[in-house]
């Protein structure tokens, strides 16, 4: 035995290093005093190869998600550069409204980034009098988006936090077990169905209440209300998670002082869970900003600068879909507009998502 260990076991000792199973096999082989060294070596080599091959395959898979991000940024940025490089003809001061010809009654120019971001008129598709009517000020789309998101934010904040307090502070376990799946269903309904509901059901119902003169077929209000219902489960779930992680002892202390459930909820639980609640709200509004089908179907297609939720507005996402559905030829400035609007949308939601996570990480109460 000692002889075998000295003689045979040492042979491959350096190759055994990380692989305990081989050691086991080898030891048993040693006991039977039969070692097929070449077979062992090839077995080990195969396993070693397999391990490293698998690792490379997995690394490649993980790389795909990184490539997706790079792809998104590259596409949006490169096409946006195309947008800002495209030449457009602008009528000279005082010229009568006629098709614009460079050198005759107009000059060739680019859309400036500042003009794009601060311009209050958006009509990139003004085809019949294109040279006269094209304007590239994105503000109406931005205000349209945020008008709808604001309505949705108010609805989802009040309903969502109310529901979260109810579920975490008031509801008995069996009620929670019924309510939570229903909220999940609400969150799982496709947005196109919500669009149908906003346009064909809620819109007409609102017109009955407010009056046909005050509210048209399309409005920021009906889109925003439905969107608020859509993102409410998100606010509820995330806020409730934050509330539930507030320790029992804090509540018990307040109850022991004679506080009612309402006082415990508003003076102990909500302040303690505030970072989670704020973060859920930011993330939900970011969802609302990026939401497409509800605003496309129900908010309308007129890019006007307004803060009146009763009016029809065009959101950034709705504009993108609208142009993508048309026959805008690849390579014209109208085609580039959807990418520059997409880039703006991407940046806005990215900032909101980062802010939402940052709030939780930096203001979370730690209980031990």
């Amino acid at each position: 035995m000692a002889l075998v260990e000295r003689g045979a076991f040492r042979v491959d000792h350096d190759q055994l290093s990380t692989d305990p199973l081989d050691g086991v096999q080898e030891r048993s082989n040693i006991l039977s005093l039969r070692i097929d060294e070449s077979r062992l070596a090839s077995h080990r080599a195969r396993r070693h190869f397999e391990e490293s091959a698998i690792l490379w395959v997995l690394r490649a898979a993980a790389l795909i998600s990184v490539l997706a991000t790079i792809g998104i940024v590259a596409v949006l940025v490169s096409q946006s550069i195309g947008f800002f490089q495209e030449e457009i003809c602008v009528l000279n001061e005082g010229e009568p409204i006629k098709p614009c010809e460079p050198g005759v009654n107009g000059t060739l120019t680019h859309v400036g980034i500042v003009d794009f971001l601060t311009g209050t008129k958006w009509s990139p598709l003004f085809k019949p009098y294109r040279e006269v009517g094209q304007s590239f000020g994105v503000l109406p789309l931005v205000t349209g988006t945020f008008l709808v998101a604001a309505v949705a934010g108010v609805v989802s904040l009040t309903l969502g936090i109310g529901a979260a307090i109810f579920l975490s502070e008031y509801a008995p376990e069996n009620v929670r077990r019924v309510i939570k799946p229903i909220l999940e269903v609400l969150a799982g309904i496709p947005t196109v169905v919500y669009g149908y509901f906003a346009l064909l059901t809620l819109g007409p119902a609102l017109r009955l209440v407010i009056g046909d003169d005050n509210l048209g077929t399309f409005s920021a209000l009906s889109a925003g209300l439905v969107m608020g219902i859509m993102i409410m489960p998100m606010v509820t779930t995330l806020s409730e998670d934050a509330m539930i992680s507030v320790p029992r002892s804090l509540r018990d202390a307040a109850f022991a002082l004679g506080a009612t459930r309402f006082e415990v909820a508003t003076k102990v639980v909500v302040p303690a869970a505030l970072s989670g609640i704020v973060s859920s709200f930011i993330l939900a509004v970011s969802r609302a900003v990026g939401e497409t089908m509800i605003v496309y179907l129900a908010a309308g297609g007129r890019p006007i600068l307004t803060f009146n939720p009763l009016e029809a507005v065009q959101a950034m996402t709705a504009f993108i879909v609208n142009v993508a559905l048309g026959d805008t030829p690849h390579g014209e400035i109208e085609y580039y507009t959807i990418f520059v609007v997409g880039l703006l949308l991407f940046l806005i939601t990215l900032v909101m998502n980062i802010a939402g996570r940052w709030v939780v990480q930096h203001f979370r109460q730690q209980y031990e």
Binding site: Q79, G160, G162, Y170, L186, V192, V321
Partner: protein, 293 residues
């Protein structure tokens, strides 16, 4: 005496306020539930009398009473199968890498951060990516099934990765330790211990991600555009439509009858989603029961 009555009115007030707000908080839940009920009832009433065999077996038409959803149903199945084929292996592999193989360093944290940021990118932006890279660049302007499925794959990839990661994380470390103690290599531990254990809850997460893909409209709308399709696609390079697109095009029609077939199509879409969700819940429940032993 005066003090006591003051404190007792104060107490009555506080108790009343507690009860009123209990009602208000419960009310916010009830509003959510009622709106859901209203939506479902409305869709159901709108579709009554329109959802029949003729509707299921016909192609779209200018006449609402002759129109059907054969092409969009076929397109939806095509899309979901192609998307799953591309997303599931890559998604699981990424999750396995991040949970079992990746070193805990800056690069890994960056990949993880990147995945959670991808999950927050608006879906229509994925549509722009698909339009520029897959349609214009890869397929030379062809708006094919494959371009749509590639776009959706990227969209649901973060969801699949995150769900798979959670499933893998739920496998107790002691299982891995036991396997390592037997001399298994990393990949053997993953292949023989982690993946089989995590499989059911992974599947349920993946099915939910796919049900998200079925209902997703905006990116497909950008990639595929609204087209009038009167055939069942036979290859991944065919043009296509899916149920959500068909619903959009019918909802946008002014004539009232189209609203009814839109509702009928919504019912079919909801049934598909419901059965996928039921499958996910069933798999999860079965798994939990087994884990008790």
């Amino acid at each position: 005496m005066a003090l006591r009555s003051q404190s007792s009115t104060r107490k009555t007030y506080r108790l009343a306020r507690d009860n009123v707000f209990a009602g208000l908080f419960a009310g916010s839940v009830i509003i959510g539930v009622l709106v859901l009920a209203w939506l479902l009832i409305e869709v159901f009433i709108d579709s009554v009398g329109w959802l029949d065999w003729q509707f299921l077996s016909s192609y779209s038409s200018r006449h609402p009473d002759q129109a059907g959803v054969l092409a969009p149903i076929a397109g939806t199945f095509w899309i979901i199968i192609l998307t799953a084929l591309m997303t599931v292996p890559v998604g699981i592999a990424t999750a396995v890498y991040l949970e079992e193989f990746a070193p805990n360093n800056r690069v890994t944290r960056l990949i993880q951060l990147n995945i959670s940021n991808l999950a927050g990118v608006p879906s229509v932006v994925y549509g722009l990516l698909g339009l520029a890279i897959f349609v214009q660049y890869l397929f030379d302007g062809q708006r094919s099934l494959l371009a749509g499925a590639l776009t959706l794959s990227l969209l649901v990839m973060p969801i699949v990765i995150i769900a798979s990661q959670e499933a893998i994380r739920a496998v107790p470390p002691s299982y891995r330790d036991a396997a390592y103690a037997m001399g298994a290599t990393r990949w053997q531990v993953v292949k023989m211990v982690v993946l089989p254990q995590a499989f059911p809850s992974m599947m349920s997460g993946i099915i939910l991600a796919m049900s998200r893909a079925i209902g997703e409209t905006a990116p497909i709308l950008v990639v595929s555009s609204l087209v009038f399709i009167t055939y069942v696609p036979t290859s991944p390079f065919d043009r296509f439509t899916v149920l959500p697109l068909q619903i959009v095009s019918w909802v946008s029609q002014p004539q009232d009858d189209f609203r009814h077939i839109a509702a009928a199509a919504i019912i079919i879409l909801l049934i598909m989603l419901l059965s996928m969700n039921a499958a996910a819940i069933y798999i999860r429940a079965k798994f939990q029961r087994r884990a008790e032993y």
